[in-house]
Symmetry: C2
Subunit: 363 residues, 2 copies
Amino acid sequence: MEPEGAATAQPEGSTRALVMSDVAALAGVSHQTVSRVINGHPNVAPHTRERVEAAIAQLGYRPNIAARALVTGSTRTIGLVTVKINQYGPAQTMLGLEKAARAAGYSLSVSILDEATASAMRDAVDRFVSQSVDGIVALATYDDAAAALATLDPPVPLVAVQVGGDEVRPAVGVDQEAGARLATRHLLELGHRTVHHVTGPADSQEARGRQDGWRSELLAVGAPVPEIIGGDWTPSSGYAAGKQLAERIRNDEDVTAVFLANDQMALGLLAALHEEGLSVPRDVSVVGFDDLPEAPYFTPPLTTVRQDFAELGRRGVQLVLARLQGEDLHPEPVPAALLVRSSTGPARAPSRRKGRTLRATTA
Amino acid sequence: MEPEGAATAQPEGSTRALVMSDVAALAGVSHQTVSRVINGHPNVAPHTRERVEAAIAQLGYRPNIAARALVTGSTRTIGLVTVKINQYGPAQTMLGLEKAARAAGYSLSVSILDEATASAMRDAVDRFVSQSVDGIVALATYDDAAAALATLDPPVPLVAVQVGGDEVRPAVGVDQEAGARLATRHLLELGHRTVHHVTGPADSQEARGRQDGWRSELLAVGAPVPEIIGGDWTPSSGYAAGKQLAERIRNDEDVTAVFLANDQMALGLLAALHEEGLSVPRDVSVVGFDDLPEAPYFTPPLTTVRQDFAELGRRGVQLVLARLQGEDLHPEPVPAALLVRSSTGPARAPSRRKGRTLRATTA
DNA sequence: CGCACCGATGTGAGCGCTAACAATCCCTGG
DNA sequence: CCAGGGATTGTTAGCGCTCACATCGGTGCG
């Protein structure tokens, strides 16, 4: 980037044009010995090691990683391909991944897709391959992305994070089903006859996992399984669900508990219910999923399910590194935990609750 | 990573062990001509260029970027150092940056700090330098991070995104002050005598910018400037502010309009006001800042200020690239826009509003 | 008609590092 | 007392690419 003649132009002892032999010369050894010290090879005399380390420190030497990458074939970089980083889950997962990668001495290169299409996914993986990352982590919660992943066979380890089943290659994920069962059970235990469910998008494996958990818990206790209400993660779809549910309550249907596949939809539902003059949790109990930072400040504070994203990231990186060494571990799903706040309460008046008055707030 | 003997093991015509001379041999030219074609050098005969391109396509050849980086000194990577990616603003900015970087043919390497301390910042920048990124973008909205940036003098361009003034090196940011004035003016125009303000953390330049905007708008129209209420971005601090304000309203102070430095605090305030039996916007008008995806679904839907993060990212990358070429552009701040929803309304009963009844909901 | 010149291509060197091998040196055991 | 072996260090050869320069064939002009 600059002729080496300018090497000493830096005001303070900053990096530049310093190469291994500079260190070697100062320490009075060969460059190879310096290399050995840097890479922690065993057979270096303690005395020599010290001298080399001192020289490195004195010069502020930093190995050129491009040169190292050229010969080792490893860039010590992990590529992350993800979608919709503005959603809480992906953002948190990314945070966990970065931390774990850094701790393992890897850096994280990211590619944020606009859409989770197969071709976008393929392109991103391709880009990482020609960037010669050591491994790739894909956040693939949507079917087509997951499908795209399945067709890919990059020359580096590729692991999926947060996909539903084990359909796709090595994968780690949160135990969506267990989390959903926790939420459902909580509502059931409060005495609700059944629990309604607002799902996420049909092509999201996470959404399906939550739905499965909800259904199986209902089935397990012999509770009726109401028809699901479709949603798409947005508050707006939760709002629509809230309106629909309010209408059904007005028609005297037995709707006292709702489990939504994420907190944002719960927020929308809360808003709709409020508009319809329904009180949470007096009239309806509500549980979300994700534990957004805002969730404790919803009106009312939202009972929800928290996923341990840091742990997820850690395992994701761990999986990549294991694969890199040829190991083939199959990690357990990361557990989820229920956080009970004020949006859930005991079911009132077991069955008959005729003659309720509904205030219309909007008019 | 693997002995080159295994080079042809790949099932389909995937990448591996392909080097420039393979392409050269197939095209019947020298490796240097291949290099020229790849790098778009002018003096290549059209016919030759075509043949080389065909060979590249046929083989699926991808240049080894480590080798290129070794000789050119450029990795075509931009480093991003940021804090708190789980907050909406940073996450969106990052998205914008990644997009812009990718469009410019750069990839984005990220480092997410736990804390915005000087030493963490320094370490991250250091790591990027030894990773030999071409440029660094720092999201430095906090003073100590910004201060750390000012002391740093890395051998690559370093630009700050979203810092307050021009104190720090090349920087781009959203015009916080203008956004805040928009919000304040909106409330004033609705007939409110003055506007209360809940700030962000004192060491955040963004928070101070918003506060300055609020104050100068108040001053501009000769409205009284109430004491600011301290906050820290969290819903919890907004909640506390809400409680405090409710108390003051109960004591008949003239509080009818609040501008909060972000939406999350507005959410907390909304919750507190609701608990205190105060109606928004009937009793109090509320404006936030950020336009979270959830903001339209708050109770009531929140009037707020939107920042164009995509544009911010674009300009950030543009600035780095300009610096890389020695240019020294000083970009304008990115504008912010007011979004009026239902949390703001006209001021009632100009002054006297004795004898109000406050329901206590919690008891 | 021949020489200078330019566009197109090839050749050689080397970026900074690690891996493989070679060369020491010092010790141990027969 | 000398061969053998392990520990330590040095030497050499590339990794795959781009840069600088050499080469070659053709064109323009004196």
